[in-house]
């Protein structure tokens, strides 16, 4: 597949390395027309506030919405999950609403509280100033947990992780996110984000 990595700010290079190591072609997505040539998209970690500002400032919101609604596979990690979530707290901020979850930003604490662990299913997890998923909607599948709480979820074509699979050597999250047969279900964005933001 040809996977675009949203490269406004954040860990886009590590994602590109991981995707390439799995045989995907990658491009760094920064402009509207970049969306036309990709089959899948990664929303990387970084600072969600910065990424959101640049998405709005450079009028990429509509392109992101269209890409999601068209059913293309999307992998959103950490800050990417915050962008993809329906509701964001701590502090409250706007989001794209691709998946029906409520998340709290920086919910494990500051950088000194960032940590590595194993998921309940036995996969490596790296959390950097990570968010936590506080609530999941009915249409959301929980695919991975840490101490019982969801850390890897999917709704339709959008797979989201609170951790950083690109910082581990385990590609299972990529395999989950970019399966070929996955383009059926469709994300349901929030109504109020259908129109591009001025």
């Amino acid at each position: 597949m040809r996977i675009g990595i949203l490269a406004l700010q954040g860990a886009f290079e590590k994602h590109a390395e991981m995707a390439r190591s799995l045989g995907h072609e990658t491009i760094l997505v920064r402009r509207k027309d970049d969306f036309e040539s990709i089959d899948g998209l990664v929303l990387p970690g970084g600072e969600s506030t910065v990424q959101l500002k640049l998405i709005v400032r450079f009028e990429l919101e509509w392109s992101l919405m269209r890409f999601a609604v068209a059913g293309h596979p999307i992998l959103a990690t950490c800050a990417g999950l915050i962008l993809a979530a329906r509701t964001v707290t701590q502090p409250e901020q706007r989001s794209l609403g691709f998946v029906d979850v409520r998340v709290a930003r920086n919910a494990w604490g500051r950088q000194i509280d960032s940590f590595e662990a194993m998921s309940d299913e036995g996969h490596p997890l790296v959390f950097i100033r990570a968010p936590r998923i506080l609530e999941v909607g009915e249409k959301v599948d929980v695919l991975g947990r840490f101490r019982g709480e969801p850390v890897l979820i999917r709704q339709g074509n959008v797979t989201c992780a609170t951790f950083h699979p690109e910082l581990t050597n385990d590609p299972y999250v990529y395999r989950l996110a970019f399966r070929k047969s996955q383009a059926n279900a469709v994300a349901q964005p929030k109504n109020d984000t259908h129109a591009p933001h001025a």
Binding site: Q9, E13, T49, S114
Partner: protein
Amino acid sequence: MKKATSTTKLGLAEMLKGGVIMDVVNAEQAKIAEDAGACAVMALERVPAQIRAEGGVARASDPAMIVSIQKAVSIPVMAKCRIGHFAEARILEALGVDFIDESEVLTVADDEFHIEKASFKVPFVCGCRDLGEALRRIAEGASLLRTKGEAGTGDVVEAVKHLRKLRTQIRRVSVMEVDELVAEGKNLGAPFELLLKVKETGKLPVPNFAAGGIATPADAALCMALGAEALFVGSGIFLSDDAPKRARAIVTAATYWQDADKLAEVSTALGQPMKSVQAASLLTHERFAERGR
């Protein structure tokens, strides 16, 4: 659950890539920086240009100021300690800052040794001018490097010099035979194992950002084009005419450094940049970049 591993420390450096880290001296500036799209702020009492103008001994900041900035913004907050001043660093760690900058911009506390950084829970960023200096800092435990530039001048020439030098030296090392590396390590004052890693990967083991003298969106784009992975901007923003506008413009330039149309757009009508000093006109003792080896 393992905290403060090299993966979590390097991980935060990865998350800052493509962004701008801005020097701020109070909570109000920190808010302006966050609103403009800074991916982190550096809390310090005086920006480099003020330190340069006022002289005296520059130390780590009052914890009260750092805490007020931590309360004001949700992005990572960094703070500076003096080179070799591990007690200041322990205080910053206790405050929970997200990154410590062991910085030549403050007065040097130890003129022989840098801090042993690996034992800290907080990741460190250090300045470097060449590959030897970069690898010495990594050996001490730095998770992120930046050019030293010539902070507080508004003159980008030194940052450019350091970026180019690193690139040239990495290229040279990557085509060397392994048996040449021991001698090269001695030349550069760099540990052999790290040099070998550079040869094998063709890059530094940690990210490298640019700092020192960045005053315009074009300066930002130039540093990114020369291989910087993100930018530290100090005096360049809040000592300019229109800080919010310039801050936004430099954030845009860090993302769209390859896009000349966008750069032209955001460089337009920014007002006066900071009052600048030619780096070449400074006497040796006035150069921050000369501090620490």
